[in-house]
Amino acid sequence: MKRILLMIALCIISNVAAKAAGDTTAVVRHVQQSALEISISGGPQRTFFRDVTTPLTDQRQFWGLSATGKIMWHPDHILSVGVLTGYTLFSTESFTKDDIPVLNEPFQLTLEAVPLQLALSMQSGGFEINVGLGGYFLSSTFTGGNAVRQANTIFEIGVSAQASYMFSIDDAFSIGPEVNVHLLSNRGILAVAPCLRAKWEFLRY
């Protein structure tokens, strides 16, 4: 039975590949102009932590939000390169005085980050895949019951990826849905955000 299924799978894959190969006889689809683009996106975010965030609870998933901005140079082919930044709120937790006897005061803790990455993007039709390579300025904030704030920021290596489909509004402006993923594997943080993205080609040459 396994061999039959394998054979069928190979058959499907090979025919899909063959069809893809026969899709076009074009050598390379040249975009006629180079362009500079700016895009922004934002939406709610679900963050998944590999480990518990504090010894006080078992919680490992949190709601937050994500916003990214990119400036891209899109030369006369399908690869673009640029810079990605933005803001992402990974988690917020509140604890009462009774939750933390050793501290004897209520606390609110927040974990957020600003990405700063080299962005690489490839488009095919309206579809676009982007990878961000670089890191995050990761910041944690303690807000105590007497309003004392303590913030600490570090730079942490991480990657991001975005997949979107853009609908053209006019020659320069497009809008569409995007899925945004942040991965800080050393910190055990994975965040997924369904977003709305807007893109503007502000210069063509």
Binding site: R3, L10, A18, A21, V28, I78, L79, M122, S124, I157
Partner: protein, 238 residues
Amino acid sequence: MRTLYKLMSLLFCVIPICTVAQPSDTLNIEHYVFTTHPLDAGRGVFSMGAALTILPQPLTEYPTPAPMLDMRWRYGLPLQTSIYGRAGSNIATTLANIGLLWSFSIGRGSFGVGISEMYMYGNITYVDGFNTIQHRWATYPMVAASWSFPAFTVSGRFEMEYMTSQVRTIADQTVRTAQDQLNGGSLTLAIEQPFWKNTHVSMGVTLNYTRNPYQAWFLFNTFRDKMFYPELFVGFML
């Protein structure tokens, strides 16, 4: 019955692909280093760029980027063979790799097998506390495949790492260790495409799964576990 299954599997795979053969000059592959499409004899391709390895946390205690100048090349020989290789250095670590690849193409796809030999020289005696030198030889048998989409070519390589010699020196003490050891393997995914006008670029990642990464040779790793670590690379074809 088993033989029949195998033959039928092969036919189902091969026949559809063979029906859409493409002439190689429409595939842009003459600019590319990683592709396994056979290169015309006497033709060479060279790329220069950088590689960045993220060393695994169990080894370096924090995921540590290890950058390196990275050069790759391929030179076509008769009978669908080519010589391929790599050289790189970040001063502390220098490596040179040369191998032989035989490949064939079917339409937009191509497949190849190869084997290469690597020599690595490490010297970090100029850093306080790391008074150490290492020489390492390793062999990399490889299977590879490539597919040319209209706008870019994607290639994959699967290599095993077989370390044949490792000689380490600290101060006045030299020891030879880890001879003839299967260290692990790697999977390389590369995308090669035109970037700007006639400039072509290759970029991708090598997903390493080995016991003793050459990039961290000076850490005297003693784990027997294999560890996963990515090596990102980018190169511009010259």
